[in-house]
Assembly symmetry: C4
Homo-oligomer: 251 residues x 4
């Protein structure tokens, strides 16, 4: 099998969709990016257009409430807007290896180029290790010219934050996107990092809405965050058991 396989939904080719914007919200610190992106997909009614399977994801299937399984994967959604559109990249996992991170990010950008994406927003959390009353939204860009608009929308640039740079898809899409001539903006909601953080997500959503010029109702963020937290706790616990066993039978 190929290391990465993209399954576009049937009939997609004839529709020749365009999307000038890609929004990435894969799992990360405080699940802030994942929560914002999945919330937007549901509120805007974006349409699922692709599934992405990869040997870099955990070798695992996820069981739905009705007992049917599906492969751990990433997904693309499409939201049309004025002859143009927005792509959303969401999913269960990021790569489990450093090299896989690079190969996946490169493939995502290849897809983005097909849709003629010109600007990428990557969404994440910025973990501070303690609870935050009024979460800021930190930003980073891949060209200095992008900074004024991002600041005008309410995000802040703070020297040395985050000190460790940006790890995973949120960082690589910006860095590798630059070599393809795509603008890149990373928005990071301040968060304790311990729980799915709807409050941080609300702050981030406000900035992103402003940048996109799209109104998105934040009311159900709280509820979605609580549901996501449950699913994740379940996964974490279940995987811990599984991994302990794995250690045993691989000795």
């Amino acid at each position: 099998m190929d290391d990465i396989t993209v399954y576009f939904l049937p009939g997609l080719e004839e529709r020749s969709l365009r999307a000038s914007i890609l929004i990435e919200g894969l799992p990360g610190i405080g699940y802030v990016g994942k929560l914002v992106a999945e919330h937007m997909i549901e509120e805007l009614g974006a349409e699922k257009i692709a599934e992405i399977h990869a040997v870099y994801f955990p070798p695992q299937v996820i069981i739905g409430d009705d007992g049917t399984i599906r492969l751990a994967n990433n997904e693309l959604y499409y939201y049309p807007r004025d002859g143009d559109g927005i792509l959303f990249l969401v999913g269960d996992h990021q790569s489990g290896t450093h090299e896989g991170h690079y190969h996946l990010a490169d493939r995502y950008l290849e897809i983005a180029a097909l849709f003629q994406v010109q600007r990428i927003y990557t969404l994440g959390g910025f973990g501070v290790g303690h609870l935050v009353e009024e979460p800021r939204v930190l930003a980073a860009v891949n060209r200095p010219e992008l900074r004024p608009d991002v600041e005008a929308a309410g995000a802040v640039f703070n020297r040395g934050e985050p000190g460790g740079g940006i790890v995973g898809a949120a960082g690589l899409l910006l860095g590798l996107g630059l070599t393809r001539g795509m603008d890149g903006i990373c928005l990071m909601g301040e968060t304790s990092g311990y729980l799915v953080d709807p409050m941080s997500a609300a702050s981030l959503l406000r900035v992103l809405s402003c940048l996109l010029g799209i109104e998105v109702d934040p009311t159900r963020l709280q509820q979605r965050g609580a549901e996501m937290e449950q699913v994740i706790q379940h996964l974490i616990e279940g995987e811990r058991v599984t991994r302990d066993e794995e250690l045993r039978y691989f000795v």
Copy 2:
């Protein structure tokens, strides 16, 4: 050498065997799946038709009672039935890496397609961390239509169990099998997870026999479980010594 090599037994090609069913019982939680599959192979007198070597298995040979070694491997057995047949996939190990899990599962499905497999049963354990008096058999399927038959055979679907999804071959054969149009059913015997569990295996065997319409005598499961436990304890201990040493000379 190729990453995966399949050695079919000589003369197999001319026989053009068909098998509409594949049963996977590789090592896993409580060795429930391995025990059931190897028990069925012996009770039914299934014939070994292939050996599978892979760089994803531990770099190790196993020493038999007569002092002769054989490579750690996976094996295929064939049981003929009414011009059709059943394939069994069993073996010493699963992959040691995430990527290897994917590549092995894909190769198993490629072989299954050669035999025109239409339905896959993957067998495993569901670890609960404590002893279980009357082990249930949990199930998951890759298409909702498969659920009624599985329930009628005595397996249960329980929302949120197992929470962590299904890891390894038992999961991937279902998930990747779907993209090849093969039905997939995973049966998981409830087990403490600490020992080879013949009681859990007996429950699983009952459900699987019913689904296959094949009577298999469970009497010797207990004894086979005890033998398997000995072999495994031996392996675990021996490998621990070896690994400690390995750490030393690779420092």
Copy 3:
């Protein structure tokens, strides 16, 4: 994407630069090599001629003071001298895997061959675990004939130091360089290993200047070391947070 990508600056091809010497100063023990090489680049005003991206580096972007990001990478600088020149290899990281170390070193040598490099200096630290008053400069060579000149410049060869050999680019460039017929000299500044060590760097710079016949003012080493220490502490802390989170969401 390719595992390693080298982006030469535009117009470089027509200039057909030659460099008989390559100086490697990637991150390592006490950051001694990195400090010396980056100091020389700034003092000599060497020109950046290439960026090297690789899937072997951490999947990470680094945020500059103005909020713009850049991919973690390695870089080549060029300093012209009498129709000849010196190449400098510096960067953020070494490979994260053993295999990546080999592939990167091989690519660096391929580039060196393009520039007709005949001699390679690799710079590093030699960790002794305690503070050192007057740091020695230890050396190793890839041909015994190189030893006298190195000793004359003030470096010492001490049997059994360093006992563990030389790990990473500093070692491989010498070992693999030999098969390409390039002379190789590794200079290692004695250092505690705990901090960026400008004093050790000053000793190393003195030896290297002598070998190259180039005077380099050491005055600003102290200040550069302090700045580098800050950046690195920041990175280490930030990455620790990130990694803790990573562990959580990959569970």
Copy 4:
């Protein structure tokens, strides 16, 4: 660079050497195999005919007493005997990854086939965790027909020893050699596993000499073992320092 590179010494091709026997003595438990093989090479005056470099070895060079480095590698030596000969495979390291073990073993067998090797002896230690007064030599074979000769030479086959099978080159050369039609015998000297063990090596040498029909003076085994122990302790210590540092700068 290729994952594995074999450098045969110049002029070797014209000599068209034959060797019906390959003896493997790479690092392993108690360094018993390494000690025996290197001792035989020196006592018999076998000639070095090849160096093997691989990305699976640690990315490291080793510094000799004169300050010159060489890549960590494996080596082949040749000892001629009556128009036939014996190949020795020795070296600094085994593979650092599971997959590398397979690829290296396969390459070694490819070389063996070039020399028309018919029988492989792999030498190792069998760690028991306590000091042994009169170390036995345990054996395993890849065809039952080989057993009587091995027993006649003084080695023992003991059911369940070693329980964990045989890991690394000593095992894989036997297992993969079988698929190439080569006989394989593994001899394992009983040893505590804590130190280089010349006494265990002497027992093993006695059995091997008998099987080969070659007298080899064991007198200097003790001294060679002591020297090897020193080198190894040095390496272990040095590498520990290096690795601690590595952790720091890769964070």
